[in-house]
Amino acid sequence: MNNDTLIPLVGVVTDVRQDTPDVKTFRVNALEGGKVFEHMPGQCAMLSIPGVGEAMFSITSSPTNKEYMEFSIKKCGCLTEWLHAMDVGQQITIRGPYGNYFPVETELKGKDLLFVAGGIGLAPLRSVINYVRDNRENYGDVQIVYGSRSKDDLVDYQEIIDEWMADDNIQVNLTIDNSQEGWDGHVGFVPNYVKELAPSTNKTVLVCGPPIMIKFTLAGLKELGFSETQVYTTMELRMKCGVGKCGRCNIGNKYVCKDGPVFRYDELGALPDEY
C-alpha cells in the first residue's frame, strides 16, 4: 500500500535551546541523520508524542539549512509542555510538510522586503529571512521589525544579534512593549513602531504575530499608503489532518492547512471574517 500522510515518520531531537521563558527551539533530525523531509519557507509540520498529542508547528529553519529542521515552540498546553520537558535524544513523530509557502521564488523575487513580527510570530518568518539571506542577490532591501513583551521574550535573540544585526545588508529594528533595565533600544508596540519608521511603500510586507498585532499593523500600513496586495501573512487555525480532509481549519472555502497558511491580504479580505 502507498504511504499515507496520516502515518508519521520518526525524528530525533538533536539540540534544545531555551529561547525565552516559555519558548524553546528544537533541532530535529532523521534517525539516520539529515532532515526528515524538505520544505519551503512558511510550511508546517505535525509533531507528536504518541499518547500525548499531535499539533502543527511552523518549520522555523530555512530550507537552505541542509542539516536539520528547527521548531520554536511556545509552552501553552498538554503537548507543548511535554515537548518542553524533552532532552536531546528524545524521539518524536513528524509528518508533513503541509500547506503553501511564501512565494520566495516568484512574487517576492527582486522585491524590497519588510518583515514585521511579534513574539512567537517570528517562527515562520525566520525561515523566510534566512532563506533570503542565503539567496541575497535575488532580493532588494531587507528590513525586519520585531517586537515582544520584553527583551527576554524576543525569540532567537542571539541569532538576531550575532547574525542579522551584524549583516550590513539588513536593517533590523527591535522593540519591546515596556521599558526595562538593560534595554536601550526602542520601546512601544510593533504596529506603532512600523508607523514611526514609515517604510517606503514600494516594499512587500510579510507579517506574523498575534491577531491583534496583525490587525493594527495592517491598519497602519494602509495609512502609510500600502495596498493589501503588498502584504502577506500566515494564519493559525485548529488543525488535525493537515491535508484539507478533517474539515477543521477552513475560513470560508479555503482550508488553512492546504490553501494556506500563507495568504495575501487581498485574498483574506475576500473571505468571511471568521478567524
Partner: protein
Amino acid sequence: MLKISAEKLNELFDKIASQQTLYIPVDREDKCAEFKKYESGMTLSKALNTVRSAKDFFLPQTENLAEFRRSGKTIEVKDIRKESEDFVVFGVRACDAKSFEILDSVFLAEPVDTFYKNRREHGTIVTMACTRPEETCFCTTFGINPTVPGGDASVYFDGESYFFVPFTEKGKVFMASISDMLEDGDVTKLSEVQAKAREIMTRLPLANLTTDSFGGEKLMEHFNSEKWAELSEACIGCGTCTFVCPTCQCYDIRDFDTGHGIKRFRCWDSCMYSDFTKMAHGNPRTSQLERFRQRFMHKLVYHPSNHEGEFGCVGCGRCLSKCPVSLNIVKVMKALEDK
C-alpha cells in the same frame, strides 16, 4: 432484463454471503432500519432508508490509523493497514450512492486517504431504486434520479421480482457471481412501477426546491445574511444532523494508551460542537450561530465552490427527520434563497 423472484431473494443473499461479506438493511426492533452484516434468515427491510447513512462502510465511525510503542526516548511507529476484504453493500438508495461521489472528491483527492480508498476498492455497491419516495426526500433538487440509483449495479423491484443491471466493472463481476440464479424477466410491470415512482416524486412537498440561489459565487452574500440568527436560534448543538448525514466527513484524530502500546484512531467529529475549532488563543466560532452557519455554508457554498459546483447535500432528508428541534437544510435553503 435479468431478475430473481422475491421468494428466492434470501437464497440469493445466502449465495452472495458465501462468497464475500454482505450488508443489507434490516429492521431493528424499534422498526428503524440499519445496515447489518447478513446472516442466513435475515429479512431485507422495506423501509425507504436506513437511519444512519451507508458512509460507515468507507469512513467508519472510528478506525485505527497507526500504533506506537514508546520506551525510554525511542518511538516505534507501526503501520497497521491491511488490505480490506471484498464486501457487498446491498440496497443503497440513490441519495447515498451519490454521497460516495462527494466523499470521493474529498478523500481521493491528493494526498489520497489510503484508508478510505482501500475500502472503496473492495466494496461493491448494489443500489436499489426507490418506489415510494417520502415527504422528506428532495434528492431531485440535486439532480439525483431515485428511479435510476447508480452504484456498481442496481436492483429494481416491481412488487414480485428484483431486476438487476450492472454499471461498472465491479458490478459486472458481481452479476457474473450470481448469474446462475437469475433468469430473464418481463419488464412491463417494472415500467409501471417506475412511472408511478416518478409521478410520486413530482407531488412531493419539496419537489420544487432548487439550488439556483446557491453555489460558490454567493459566498459573502450568504455568509453575511441576517437570517442565520433566527435560523440557528433553536439549535442545541447536539451534532445529530452531522452524524446521520451521508456527506458529513469531519473527523478528529486522537490517541489511546492501551497500557501495552498506543493506538492512534480517527473518529467522526462535528462542526456543530463548541470545541471543534477551539485553540490555545481563542476560538473563531464562539457561538452556535457560527457553527450552524458553517455546516450549511459548507454544503451549499464552500463545497460547490471547491468542487465544480457539486453540492455537499444529496437530499436524503435525514436531517429533516432526525433533528430534535426540527432544524434542517431545507429550512436554511428556503430562508436564504432569493425569491
